[in-house]
Symmetry: C2
Subunit: 151 residues, 2 copies
């Protein structure tokens, strides 16, 4: 009984924060994708809906900046969301370059369901941590992210 020899991944890897972060991101992404996928959505959809619900009508370029998404990816996302009747895209009368994107009531309803799914994901993701540890982790990550979004 030597115990199952679960193949060990190199310590050189597991010691590196970049490894820990990216691998954990894989799990986070999988959890979220599974949940979103069940309702025909994906991460991009959620991001845009949240931004719309939080700040109201916005141009596509604004949405891109707020959600950390490329303009071209916004186009595709809005196409999909509009196709499902979750947002509406109308030309801005004050600036004919822009489109104004609004969330519909169906979109808000959809967002609420996505939100619930994502809350469960957070729970799963942080399951082994005490609430104090979760707070510490969130604080450290926030610090790091803030630093990298400016510099």
């Amino acid at each position: 009984m030597y115990g199952a020899v679960v193949e060990k991944t190199p310590a050189r890897l597991t010691a590196k924060p970049s490894w820990l972060i990216t691998q954990l991101a894989v799990h986070a992404h999988r959890l979220a994708s599974d949940g979103f996928g069940e309702m025909g959505a994906r991460g991009y959809h959620y991001r845009v809906l949240v931004a719309l619900e939080q700040f109201g009508v916005a141009s596509q370029a604004e949405l891109g900046r707020r959600c950390n998404m490329d303009r071209s990816d916004i186009v595709a996302t809005i196409n999909e969301l509009a196709g499902q009747g979750l947002v509406e895209r109308t030309p801005d009368p004050d600036d004919r370059r822009r489109n104004l994107v609004t969330i519909t009531t169906a979109g808000e309803r959809h967002l609420r369901r996505l939100e619930q799914t994502l809350d469960r994901v957070q729970e799963d993701l942080l399951a082994p941590l005490t609430s104090e540890d979760r707070q510490t982790l969130t604080h450290l990550l926030t610090q790091l992210l803030a630093h990298h979004q400016r510099g």
Copy 2:
């Protein structure tokens, strides 16, 4: 002077650990990819080389388990590494299903350079944190990752 109106991303997003982790992973990945890219490598190459150097000769399936990679992605990676003379692939005489993959001295040299690049990445990534905070973060992330790789 209202200050630059840097478009704010929704608090609903920035409060979620899954958002923080995945966005930070984006930065980590970008930093690492930039460094690796300058020497014609990518993450998969590094992972495999580290595993080989740490545990010696291994079959492709073993490498996949150690590096958290799909068997099919191992094939492509070994093809590329072998094409550059960084690893060698030879059939296992004791098990004719397997290939034995060995790192070459050129591979070890290449790995050392990748390692240096990645060390700089860790520095960049964690720049704003004290060494104590870094330790805390590493500990928390390790806990989480361990949990999600079993369950």
